[in-house]
Amino acid sequence: MKLFFSFIAGVWVQTALASPEGLLFFEQKVRPVLVEHCYSCHSAEAKKLKGNLYLDSKAGWQKGGDSGEPAIIPGKPEESLLIRTIQHLEEDLEMPPKKPKLAAAVIADLVTWVKLGAPDPREGGKVEVKRADKTWWSLQPLRDFKSQISDFKSAGIDDFISAKLKEKGLDFNPPADPRALIRRMTYDLHGLPPTPEEVESFVQKPDVAALVDRLLASPRYGERYGRHWLDVVRFGESNGFERNFIIDDLWPFRDYVIRSIHADKPFDQLIIEHLAGDVIGKNQPEIEVGSAFLVAGPYDDVGNQDRVAQANIRAATLDDMVTATSGAFLGLTINCARCHDHKFDPIPAEDYYRIKSAFEGVTHGRRVVASAEARVAHQQALKPLQTELTRLMAEQDALDKALNDRAKTAVAHLRFTRSAVDAHGTEESFAPVTAKHLRFVIHSFTNDYQGTPTKRVGGGKLTEFEVFDTSGRNVALASHGTQVEGARSAVAEDFPQAYGPQYCIDGARGEAWFIGNPPVLTLTFAKPERIIRVNFINARGERSTDESKVRGATPTEYEIQVSEDGQVWTTVATDEGRQPATSGHALAKARKAMISQEETARLAALQKQISAIQAQIGRVPALPQMWVGNHAQPKEPTTLHKGGDPMKPGEVIAPASLKVLSEVTPAYELPADAPEGERRLALAKWITQQNPLTARVLANRVWQWHFGAGIVDTPSDFGYLGSQPTHPELLDYLASRLIAHGWRLKALHREILLSKTYQQSAAYREDGARLDAASRLLWRFPPRRLQAEEVRDTMLFTAGQLKLEPIGGPGFRLYKHMQNNVSTYSPLDQHGPDTYRRAVYHQNARASIVDVLSDFDFPDTAFAAPRRANTTTPLQALTLLNHSFVLDMAGALADRLPQANAVEAAYQILFQRKPETMEVQAAEQLISGHGLRAFCRALLNANELIYLD
């Protein structure tokens, strides 16, 4: 295949003639500096050219480097990047790099030279860089095939393939035998094997067109091809980054994709819904949910207080949307133009910000997605309940207020005998008592009663709890043999000790017990102890340390009880007589002292009614919330970020199309302050109307999904660094057919599946392999391994365990999800029957690993995975041999095999063929020694199960 490169030659015509004095100045003061300090990175002799900038010719600096601007503006040193970099005025571009700044006199000479108009006698020189320009193949209009939608035939495809084969002296393989073909097609369109009955029926009557129609009509097709598309749009159900919290309401987007593809929704419509479903389908959930595409990627949600970090995080969040959009629909890497003009494709940095501006109003998050009728109905159901709730709460508030006013007067009369509790240590002494058990029963904390005397927060902490015997020893210490119990208010499932009460008796103030409910600490001593005093501490540091933002609440109201048998408890001390911890606490005490029985009863009755109403409100079905993102008009216009740095805003950039396609595709440019929804809709229309990239990229994906590799085998990169098409005419033909079919995939599938190219055998041929080992020219159907989901689904299906219903809904999990500030996902050792659904319904958290799926290259969805990897590792073997899931499936498969002919039945179910005599003999030997399950386990590990012809 011939590769064609194109070059941009930055040819500048020299217009100004330099004066002899100027040239002399250059030779004496400038050239030596450039040679000594710059040429090692910026000349034709450079070992590696840096920043695509040549300084060994006039044309070099006139063209400039990655900045896209001339490095020198004659006469204007302050605007010349070269001068600014040596003056260290450009962050991260200080020149010469990693070396001391040039001497002031040297810099002054260069400034003078630029002021003089930068006279430079160095003509010629190398300035071209290998890269694409607007003549690049993928940016051209589609070839015109005059294709007609009514002319339903696939001869076109075979002609293109055959012509290329003939050039190499090759030809197609003979047709595949019917068993291989139905296996191939069923996996291709459903990701599952055919049943033995389906195989037999097809072998009897190999009506391929009928088979294709049957397969395309099934919801299984939507699941299989929906999954392909989810790969392309980097769909993942956790936010990634540090917190990686799980997202439980993004599955409606997954179901939307599956449904849309099953229904053969025109793909241009699908793209518009992805980018602007909320704009064109407001209050139409089925359309609105499409725009979840924008927020299906990872993003950083950590509560960063640093202003620069916040700006960078926002920029990275929008970059994900630009990257996903350009890769999925256009096959371009517009994201490579974020910091500088694209190095290889004709995409200036401005283009990046033109596209970015479309997404400025989008933020990640969930919101209600419901029809107008549903919203009205919901409001009507709630209204009477809320009216009643408001009335009850007003009555409660009035009563509370009256009580609190009285308490404010009464508080002055309260008298206390002891100091308030102290976070650094509160002691309670009592007459010597013998105790085997001691418990600290907490009734309130220092953070209670704030604002109102009835408000309770709870959830305090203790770093240490000490119990002293008559000799002054702390007998509470774990090192003394004491055991401790107490509920905690937080858990970290992967670190069981966390937050536990044992920190109260470890003799150190470092870690704290997070006090849960009931708030009771119970100590059991190793033997009965004669005790006289306790001391409880909440502080971690010394009194001099400012802990105002560190410490939790301290217990304020409590009882200390002891017991000899753990049955009968005696109270030996309480907080009685202590000063209140806070003014709120004082009010609460006063209120408690003066409230009447009637008032208490009335408040309790009101609270009961309020709780009942709240429960009723809770039972009104909520409007569905979905992770579809939120939208708001941006406050600022989009600006270019110089060097990709959001702290260095450049010129204002208006929402607009890519300039490079302006001669091919109708361009748009909106005002810089255009409504954000309009921006996304304009972008969506530009992508879907007369845009040759969109059709080519999608047609290529369809081809890849059928054959394993696309005509371009870098499916989301049609730029310079991507691959060239093996069959450029065929690609354009398919793209044209796609458009002619109204952007419906099923018609295109039919053309491909009914072709000779697709239906030929996968058999190996020396001549083909010698010339084209990867079968890219399609002298045979390329054999392939099953993908991750197919491997798991196949085991479930063949074992008779796969649950095909319900289709969709919340996903299942093959990991345990643990949440403690950040999320942790650990794979499950047992996969219960509730997980026996198709793998496409697995809730795929980012940066998680699960058995079978991860082993077989299920992608981590940090990025789009337009083409799955295909690796062979020992870990796959360990999983399939030893994970309980495979053993369970082997057992289930064994159970469904008939007593007679078990071996043949298994081969028919798994491999769609009869076993050979040798295979039967070997199998029967294994079965007689070790049973059917051993045999089934071996077959589930067999190569034949997961490789297709």
Binding site: D494, E511, D860, T872
Partner: protein, 462 residues
């Protein structure tokens, strides 16, 4: 060096011809350096949480002197908010070794090794957040999806054994580091280059034959599997993936034999256990000590890249799970220091005594440093991406030197400012790899470990 062939091989094994089954796996993995390597293996020790440079490695006399005074310049808002005045380290620094390097008295055992260490005091990070910081310290990128350095090394150099993984990540008892598995992810490199997680507490996943299956059944099942796979391969000439998968099953069987042996620490003599502290009363220290010992045993068996974690993720468990001392620095590091110090020092001693430092490059990492000030309302320190310390020692590294420096208080890197790109350019250099030539095509770009940056730190090379 032709890496495009490597791209091809690792992407799809189709196209190999005539390679013996058992060697096929190793053949794909035995690669070559760009130039003569100084190191063959890497031991990475990672203290997640942002281990404080000014409390461990970077002595700042002026910080002591100006304790309680404002940091010169405008008051700063960092990751968690406002900061208070300068706060000296709760631990005195002491001169150690021939080099007289000043080291925190919190690390008395590690102080014995300073003459073998090359400190990099001028490290900077592009992020002030743990998760992105940790993966940046492993992959040079702050967003996930990129291959970790261990994966790049596995991809570039392959395996040194045929019965253990090439790249092992040893997790702390307390759980995963921030951003979890992304720290040892293969990113877009083929899956065989990801780290396999194993620790003294957690065996290699799915390593053990199910209890329900007797050994005789296992043998018979594998024999049958081998027969039907051979038969299938014979009917599919030229389909080398089939042979690769059979070879992978062979290697899995070898791993099943070797991995438990390597993980069996009971074979180590008592004095070795004592050296590491594997039976210490402090359960977290004992657990980490066992992982240190396990790391040595992996390196002995030719594991190419071992990542050893001391502490785990950011947590609401204040200061307990990792080095993220926002609230009470003293209490927190009095917990972490002893867990880290003796076992790590023992590992260094042990590797040195066995002569393994000729082959093994040791790198100590954390994601960023901490502020020289205390956080408002706390006695802890906030994140500081503008300055932190890392160190290297072992194969190819000059000992007893320091590269770069921070300003008077440790607020910012000031001399020879260094990035994670420089750090890994140096690591690759020591492994005989040119960081600008080690590339892999992904989604429109020829990706490098060091992105488009990085300079080898020549001053620390032996």
């Amino acid at each position: 060096m032709d890496f495009s062939r490597r791209d091809f091989l690792s992407h799809m094994t189709t196209g190999l011809t005539g390679v013996a089954l058992s060697r096929l796996w190793a053949a794909e993995h035995r690669q070559q350096s760009h130039f003569h390597p100084k190191a063959r293996q890497v031991l990475q020790i990672f203290c997640p949480g942002g281990a404080s440079h000014v409390d461990l490695w970077d002595h700042k006399p002026l910080l002591e002197k100006h304790h309680g005074m404002p940091l010169p310049g405008a008051p700063e808002v960092s990751f968690q908010g406002k900061n208070g005045n300068l706060m000296k380290s709760p631990w005195a620094f002491q001169a150690a070794g021939q080099s007289g390097k000043m080291i925190s008295s919190l690390l008395p055992h590690l102080a014995h090794h300073v003459d073998d260490m090359a400190f990099i005091h001028s490290m900077t990070s592009r992020t002030n957040t743990h998760g992105p910081g940790c993966i940046a310290m492993n992959s040079c990128f702050t967003r996930e999806g990129f291959p970790s350095a261990g994966s790049w090394v596995s991809y570039a150099l392959g395996s040194l054994n045929d019965n253990l993984p090439t790249y092992v990540a040893i997790q702390d008892l307390r759980g995963e580091p921030p951003n979890g598995k992304a720290n040892w992810s293969n990113g877009f490199l083929p899956a065989q280059h990801q780290a396999v997680t194993m620790s003294a507490q957690q065996a290699l996943r799915n390593l053990v034959r199910p209890q329900a299956i007797a050994e005789s059944e296992e043998t018979a099942t594998r024999d049958f599997l081998q027969r039907i796979n051979l038969r299938h391969a014979q009917s599919h000439p030229g389909h080398h993936e089939l042979q690769a998968r059979m070879a992978a099953y062979e290697m899995a069987a070898k791993m099943q034999l070797t991995a438990p042996e390597v993980s069996d620490l009971s074979k180590e003599p008592q004095h070795v256990h004592d050296l590491y502290g594997t039976q210490d009363a402090n359960g977290l220290k004992a657990a980490y000590a066992r992982n240190c010992l396990l790391a040595r045993r992996f390196l002995e068996q030719g594991v190419r890249y071992v990542s050893l974690y001391c502490a785990s993720r950011a947590s609401a468990v204040d200061g307990l799970l990792n080095w993220d001392a926002h609230k009470t620095l003293k209490a927190d590091y009095e917990r972490h220091g002893p867990i880290f110090d003796q076992p790590t020092a023992a590992l260094l001693t042990d590797l040195k005594q066995r002569g393994m430092l000729n082959d093994v490059l040791i790198i100590w990492c954390t994601e960023f440093g901490r502020m020289p000030t205390h956080q408002e309302g706390t006695s802890g320190r906030d994140h500081n991406p503008d300055a932190f310390t890392t160190w290297m020692m072992g194969a190819g590294v000059k000992g007893g030197v320091s590269h770069g420096a921070t300003d008077d208080f440790g607020r910012r890197a000031a001399v020879d400012v260094t990035t994670v790109y420089d750090f890994y350019a140096t690591v690759l250099h020591l492994l005989g790899l040119d960081h600008e030539k080690l590339t892999y095509y992904h989604n429109g770009a020829k990706r490098r470990l060091t992105d488009v940056h990085g300079h080898v730190l020549n001053s620390i090379l032996a």
